[in-house]
Amino acid sequence: MSTPRIPVDLILEKTAESVAKSQEKVLKSKDVLLGALDTSIATTPYEVVYKESRVKLKHYLPIAESRVRTPLLMVYALVNRETMLDLQPGRSLVQNLLKEGVDVYMIDWGYPTRKDRFQTIDDHVNGFLNNIVDFIRQRHGIPKINIMGACMGGTFSIMYSALHPQKVKNLITIVTQSNFDTDKSLLNIWAKAIDPDLVVDTHGNLPGDALNVGFLLLNPARLIVDKYVGYFENIDDKAFVENFIRMEKWIFDSPDVPGEVFRQFIKDFFQKNLLIQNKMELGGKRVDLGNITMPVINIYGRFDHLVPPEACEILISKIGSRDKENLCIDTGHIGIFVSGKSQKELAPRMARWLGDRDGVEQKYAAPRRTRPNTRRTRPKIARSLSLAR
């Protein structure tokens, strides 16, 4: 039996080296952590133009000449905050759209309290969302507006467009689940094991912290261990720390989900998959996807583990529109909003698509075809950010 050859001297040397490096990092981190850090999120200037209960409508101040006449309403999910779409300067879909000359409105769903536990999906879609759309239409004196829905907000936007097609000029859905019958996402698998009645009857609203725990458990190796090892490795890098803290702020800023919304979402979407079968009912009216006849672009991430392509792409074949397309981008659920690649591609692509259907003269370069990128290398910051979800 041969004796193992262990380079003890090299290992010890390497260990001593890393201990020295770690000590140096810790010393430097003192300057970073105790110094002034800019960790603010959602800094693009806006004004609140409409309020209804906890729900607000933000209107972003234009920063470029208008190139798309029809205003765009962004509808984010009730899970987590809409600040993801305006995370920080340089990583902001809102800012990029403003630069492209799009007039941007965004719904802030606020923080539901126990008082809101009885509010249903119908109250959100035919209530808040419809009132906001009417407000914008009235403000601009136009019959239709553009709507962009992200994640659960996209599902709301699909239902709204099916129920009120006369008010929607163009529909953009981003990482939006419409087909819930898939085992490619752990959320879809787990949601089938949950008893929503018991959860809602016990808690009233679904606590945001419960959602946070659920998201962390999706990938404990990365989200509970490796992410913070990465943080420590870069703790002496001010820019890294600032970006990391911004993302932490967003991730753990999880409002409670109104109880009745959660109950219906789990039952009708995750457990019965009613929407894609045209069997969903809101406010006593059936949501018929065939009523969606406006132009639709359905954007999703190839590496999205929360809302995988299988959960998104089928929508296009079920709606009544003639002008419709799927756009799959090589990124993940959050990477689609914050990755460097998306910063360059997503907003210009959306602006061009809206502009082409707006009937106004285009003042910018002709549309370019987005080629799927098969390279998966990501910059350090983007990697840590996209790991978050």
Binding site: S2, P4, R5, I6, P7, L10, I11, E13, K14, T15, S18, R114, K115, R117, F118, Q119, G127, D183, L186, I189, W190, K192, A193, I194, D195, L198, V199, D201, T202, H203, G204, L217, L218, N219, P220, A221, R222, V225, D226, V229
Partner: protein, 308 residues
């Protein structure tokens, strides 16, 4: 019965009680140890099985009990012990004997019941993950302890007592479910560490040991991620997750009901009070919205008719 016979009888029951107790724990330890041993059929079915930790613990406890009891089991020690007892008046000894016999019978019953739990656990197949152990734990609680909490309370405070017992019961059920859930979550960590250790051992044997610790860390993270993915998609995990969430919700509900009882004596509205108010508020808002829309429709109708 003379004194010597009494001593012999007492010595017999004491010895048999100790024997049955240690036998029980030894057999339980062997049972769980066999279940958990790396080479057992059970562990072969279970990719996440760790070397029998629970079995080892039980065997250690049993050995410790044996060591503690062995000096007491010797006839000299017992004679000495019982001689002291013999000094007591006969009536007192009789009372003591009756009590001891009762206790012994209780022990026997308990051991018999516990034995049955082990039988039930053997018959139950969960396709892995130490499930039998947790089933045994759940059965032990449900069959032996829970009935005490379910004894119907009587009298003026019966409902308060019932809710307090319910809260304790739900808390215990949640603890059982949580133990199983946490155990499952721990499996990929242990398994991935084991694999990385094996890898390091292999590298060391081949003289390929990396001087960069980060390489092994990255390997551990990647392996652990893979194990979690496999675990999360398994029906066992989904079932345990559902059970744990359910147990948590049931416990939180019972706790809230207990707290509401306590709050009744204070001038503080409870969630039940507030929910009733919120529900009314919600219904009124809806009604106002509908009526507003109706008024607007009627107003525009009147305006149109006015123009005609």
């Amino acid at each position: 019965m003379d004194q010597a016979e009494e001593q012999r009888t007492s010595s017999n029951w004491f010895s048999s009680w100790m024997k049955s107790t240690t036998d029980f724990w030894l057999s339980a330890a062997k049972y769980w140890g066999a279940e958990a041993s790396p080479g057992s059929a059970c562990s072969q079915q279970m990719p996440y099985m760790l070397p029998g930790n629970l079995g080892d613990v039980l065997q250690n406890i049993s050995k410790m009990m044996q060591s503690m009891y062995s000096p007491l089991s010797s006839s000299e020690a017992l004679d000495f012990f019982l001689m002291a007892a013999g000094a007591l008046p006969e009536a007192e000894v009789r009372v003591l004997r009756t009590t001891s016999n009762g206790y012994f019978q209780f022990q026997q019953m308990w051991l018999e019941k516990s034995g049955k739990i082990a039988e039930a656990a053997t018959a139950f197949s969960f396709d892995g993950f130490h499930a039998d152990t947790f089933k045994g734990l759940a059965d032990l609680y449900n069959n032996e302890l829970k009935p005490f909490l379910n004894v119907p309370p009587v009298g003026l405070n019966r409902f308060y007592q019932e809710r307090a017992s319910e809260a304790v019961d739900m808390f215990n059920e949640f603890q059982v479910a949580l133990a199983q859930f946490v155990h499952l979550l721990h499996l990929p960590v242990g398994r991935s560490l084991q694999l990385v250790q094996e890898q390091i051992g292999e590298h060391a044997r081949n003289g390929e040991l990396s001087t960069n610790f980060k390489e092994y860390y990255d390997l551990w993270i990647k392996t652990m991620e893979g194990h979690y993915t496999t675990l999360y998609k398994s029906p066992e995990y989904v079932q345990v997750l559902g059970q744990t969430v359910k147990a948590l919700d049931r416990y939180k509900g019972a706790e809230a009901r207990l707290l509401m009882d306590m709050l009744q004596s204070l001038p503080i509205p409870t969630n039940r009070d507030m929910d009733a108010l919120y529900s009314d508020h919600y219904e009124m808002q809806k009604k106002i919205r509908t009526l507003t829309e109706r008024i607007q429709e009627l107003e525009s109708q009147v305006r149109e008719e006015g123009f005609r």
